[in-house]
């Protein structure tokens, strides 16, 4: 092929650093590469979605009938949960305050909570029935407890001082 003289790129206005044909060619190649890359990326995304879906289907737990062991375990968990849910701090503070108010007349023997029923059963000894009624009245005024009642009372004959053993119950607010 015959060699041509080089073109003279010289202009007082337009920039002379031009390569229009090469530039258009490079631009076309770049666009084509971008399209090819885009299509390849789209294919990979679709494949990834498909694999994610398959993986999700494999990892999903199959529904099955609960076993007796799992039911027992669940019940134990629920029990513990209920016990933990009891407002121990408030309840004990309230009982302590009531005992302090009646410190001369009552002697607490046992406090037994029943978290399932939100019920607390109190066993105590007093000298006389009015003292027991006064303590009951004090518990009924409490904002933490409700439905306080005297469940039983019994004179202890085996004790030389013959105290009166009483059992009270009350519900705590949830």
């Amino acid at each position: 092929m015959r060699r041509l003289p080089r073109p003279v790129r010289l202009d007082f206005v337009a920039p002379v650093h031009r390569a229009p044909v090469a530039g258009v060619g490079l631009c076309a190649v770049g666009l084509a590469a971008a399209v090819v890359l885009g299509l390849a990326f789209d294919r990979k995304l679709a494949e990834r979605r498909r694999l994610d879906a398959e993986l999700g289907a494999m990892a999903q737990p199959r529904p099955s009938a609960p076993s007796p062991e799992s039911l027992k375990s669940a019940a134990e968990v629920a029990t513990v949960q209920r016990e933990l849910d009891a407002p121990w701090t408030l309840l004990l503070a309230e009982l302590e305050a009531a005992s302090r108010d009646s410190a001369e007349t009552i002697s607490l023997l046992n406090v037994e909570p029943d978290p399932g029923k939100h019920l607390v059963r109190i066993t105590a000894e007093v000298r006389a029935l009015p003292d027991a009624l006064a303590y009951l009245k004090r518990l009924q005024q409490s904002t933490v407890l409700r439905h306080a009642m005297l469940e039983s009372h019994e004179r202890r004959k085996d004790d030389p001082q013959h105290p009166l053993r009483i059992t009270l119950s009350a519900e705590w607010h949830t």
């Binding site: 060699r3 041509l4 003289p5 073109p7 003279v8 010289l10 337009a14 650093h17």
Partner: protein
């Protein structure tokens, strides 16, 4: 019309002649208007008359609203130099300073305040420097503004003619000469690049000028061997020249209907 495909108006500015070609672009570019008008003579080197004539022509809406590419006649408004590659690598500003020094050395203080630009050349090779009156560009842009023409290119005649005929030129040891408007510009090619540039003002007697051209060709051949001289000249001048006188005329459409030389140059820009 997309701004990328705006019409183009090519303008040839000579001291005696003004030519315009409007080209519609798009899928099928085509010349939609062309004209050549004479320019009243003025002071040598004065761009006022041709720009005033251009302003007159641009009152015609035919030429409005396009990009403008201007070609300036070499004589009297352009000076060239081939600047050898300096021994020390220079940045753009250093290359310009070097080129200005060499042009001042060749043409004197007349070009000291002219605008200078350099051809884009691969590193390590000599490069073409070109100077033009500094006020020409701004004055031309102002004239074009009134017709909503945006000046996007301003090139000298020799560069445009060379690029237009490049496919017909040998790469080694040959002269390319363009003749028009009472001036001559010639460039010698060596290994595909310019290595010498000559310019000369011609007299009104074309027969004498043709003889001078032929003598120039003979001298060139005698000095360097088998150098060829390829000449781009007006059709009427080619018709009047003797055949086989050491000159190879570059011609496309040499008939009587051939366009004026400046117009032909503009049309070849779009060939």
């Amino acid at each position: 019309m997309s701004p990328l495909w705006r019409d183009e108006v090519a303008i040839y500015l000579g001291p005696r002649k003004l030519a315009l070609v409007r080209r519609a672009r798009g899928a099928k570019p085509r010349v939609v208007a062309a004209t050549v008008v004479a320019v009243p003579p003025g002071t040598a080197g004065d761009t006022g008359p041709v720009l005033a004539r251009l302003a007159d022509v641009l009152t015609d809406p035919t030429w409005h609203g396009a990009k403008a590419r201007a070609v300036v006649a070499d004589h009297p408004w352009v000076r060239y130099g081939v600047v050898p590659c300096p021994a020390t690598p220079l940045d753009a500003a250093g290359r310009l300073t070097h080129a200005r020094y060499l042009l001042d050395d060749s043409y004197g203080q007349a070009v000291a305040d002219w605008a200078l630009t350099l051809a884009d050349t691969p590193p390590g090779q000599s490069y073409v420097a070109c100077a033009m009156p500094a006020t020409l560009r701004s004055a031309l842009a102002d004239t074009l503004d009134s017709a909503r023409l945006e000046l996007v290119s301003l090139q000298p005649q020799l560069v445009v003619a060379f690029n237009a005929w490049r496919h017909r030129l040998p790469a080694d040891d040959s002269w390319f000469v363009t003749v028009d408007d009472a001036s001559l510009s010639g460039v010698h090619l060596s290994r595909g690049a310019w290595d010498r540039v000559h310019m000369a003002r011609l007299s009104a007697d074309w027969s004498v000028e043709i003889e001078r051209l032929q003598a120039f060709g003979r001298v060139t051949q005698a000095a360097g061997g088998a150098g060829r001289m390829l000449v781009d000249a007006p059709a009427w001048m080619r018709r009047g020249a003797a055949a086989g006188a050491g000159i190879e005329w570059l011609e496309e459409g040499a008939g009587r209907g051939a366009p004026a030389h400046g117009l032909a140059l503009l049309q070849r820009m779009y060939a």
